[in-house]
Subunit: 230 residues, 2 copies
DNA sequence: TGGAGGATACCGAACGGTCTGTTTTCTGCA
DNA sequence: TGCAGAAAACAGACCGTTCGGTATCCTCCA
C-alpha cells in the first residue's frame, strides 16, 4: 500500500509536464506503454527473455498486469515490440555515432569501435539483444533468427555504403569482415565485461582497411594488462 | 508402454557390446549418465537452458527422473556437467583439427577457419554453448561468465602459442584478434546458418597475419551469393 | 539377493494469462 | 468553469499448466 502510493505520486509528478500524445521514443516515455517497454527491455537483456516473468516486468514498470495485456496482448508480442523498439534505437544511435562529426568515409568507419567501446562501458550493457534472443531459443526455428538478420542487414548496408565511398577494393567483403569483428567484440565484451576488446577489434579493423591505408590510431592496445582479461 | 518397451530393447541391444566401465567421452556413452549428458547437451544447445525442462531431457535420454537426480543432484549441476564435458570435447576437437596434419605454426593457424566451417556445417550446430549460456542468464552475475572465460582462455592460449611460433610481431595481439573473429564467426553462423561466414573470417585473418605474409588461399570468398546471407 | 535403474504419483512454487472491481485521468458539453 | 461520463490504469485474486524436485514402489539381472 504505502509503496504503491509512493510510486503513484512519483509517476504523477513527473508525468505532469508530458502531453498525452503517445511519445515515439521509448527512452523517456512516461506512459504505461513506455514504462513497460523500457522495463521489459532492461530485464530481457539483463536476465534473459525466458528467465524474466511477467510479474517482474510489471513491478519494474509500476503498472498492472491488465495494462500489459491490454497494450501488448501476450508476452510474445511484448518481446517482439521490445526487439523492434530496441533495434531501432540502437541503429539510430550507432549510425549517429559514426556519422556525427563528419569527415570522409574512412574516418566514419574508424569511429565504429570507439563508439562500441562507449556502449560496452555502460553500466547496463548486456550484449546484443538479438544475438541473445537467438541464443536462448530453438535454433531450428527461424522466428528470432530472421529478426536478428533483418537488424544486422541494416547495419551491414550502412557499413558497406561507407566502404564503397572509401574506395575499398571489395566493399562488400570489407563490410562483412567488419561486421564479424563487431559481433565478436560485442560477445567478448558481454562475457568479459572488458570494454577494451573494442580497441583490439578497432586495431584489427585497421589491418583490414588495407596495408597502404593503415594509420595506426595511437596504438590504443599498448596496455597489455587489459588483454589478459579475455 | 509400447514406446518405452521399444526404447528399452534398442538400448539393451546396442549397449551389449559396451563394458560397464564409465566411458570418459560422452559422445558414444551408452550408460544412463552418458545418455543424460548427451541429451541435455543437445537440448540445452538447441533450445536454450531455461527453455529445456527436466522431462524433455529424461525423455530424450530414455531414463527416469530419479536416475537424473541420483547422478547429477540438480538441474544446475547437470548444466555445469554439460558445459564442462562439452567444453572439453570441443577444445580437443578444435586443437586436434588445427594441429593434425602438421606443418608450421602459420599453416596450423590457417586451419582454424576451415575447421570452424565444418563445425558450422553440422546439422546440430547451435552456436557456442558458453556464449549462449551467458546470453540467457543474469549478466550481473559472474557464474556463467567465469566458466565461459575459462574455456576461451584455454583456446586463446593455444592460438597465442602458435602466433609466437609463427614469429608474429605481437603474438598476444594477433591471438586476441583471431579470437574476436572466431567469436564473431560463431555468432554469425548461429544466426544466419550460413557456414560461409567462416571463409570470410578466414580471409580477414589473412589480413591480420601481416601484409608480407598474405598468401590468399585461393580466394574462397569469390562467391558473392553467399555474402548476402548475413 | 541386492543394487541400479525404471515408472509414476505427487509436491510447492512459479509461470503466462484472465477476471472482477476500484481509482484516476481525460474529454466534452452546459 | 465545472461536472458527468468515458476511457484508461490500477490492484490483486484466481485459473490451469508447467516447473524443478521428491518419494514410493517395481523390474531386472549380475
Amino acid at each position: 500500500m504505502p509503496r504503491s502510493d509512493l510510486l503513484q505520486v512519483m509517476r504523477k509528478s513527473s508525468a505532469k509536464r508530458k502531453s498525452a500524445a503517445a511519445a515515439s521514443r521509448a527512452g523517456d516515455d512516461e506512459s504505461a506503454r513506455g514504462r513497460l517497454l523500457s522495463a521489459a527491455t532492461h530485464l530481457f537483456c539483463k536476465d534473459g527473455i525466458n528467465a524474466t516473468g511477467i510479474d517482474a516486468i510489471i513491478n519494474e514498470a509500476g503498472t498492472a498486469k491488465t495494462t500489459l495485456y491490454k497494450l501488448f496482448g501476450s508476452k510474445t508480442h511484448l518481446v517482439h515490440a521490445v526487439l523492434e523498439s530496441e533495434g531501432k534505437q540502437w541503429r539510430e544511435w550507432f549510425i549517429g555515432a559514426i556519422e556525427a562529426g563528419g569527415g570522409d568515409a574512412e574516418k566514419k568507419l574508424s569511429r565504429i569501435f570507439p563508439a562500441l567501446k562507449s556502449w560496452f562501458s555502460e553500466e547496463r550493457f548486456y550484449g546484443c539483444p538479438f544475438i541473445n534472443a537467438v541464443a536462448e531459443h530453438d535454433k531450428d526455428q527461424k522466428q528470432f533468427r530472421n529478426i536478428a538478420m533483418k537488424h544486422k542487414k541494416v547495419v551491414l548496408a550502412h557499413i558497406e555504403k561507407l566502404a564503397t565511398e572509401m574506395g575499398a577494393a571489395e566493399p562488400e567483403v570489407l563490410a562483412h569482415q567488419l561486421a564479424l569483428l563487431i559481433d565478436g567484440a560485442i560477445v567478448a565484451a558481454m562475457v568479459s565485461r572488458n570494454p577494451g576488446v573494442a580497441d583490439m577489434a578497432g586495431l584489427a579493423a585497421c589491418s583490414l582497411f588495407g596495408p597502404a591505408k593503415v594509420k595506426k590510431p595511437k596504438r590504443a592496445a599498448s596496455a597489455p594488462a587489459e588483454l589478459v582479461a579475455v
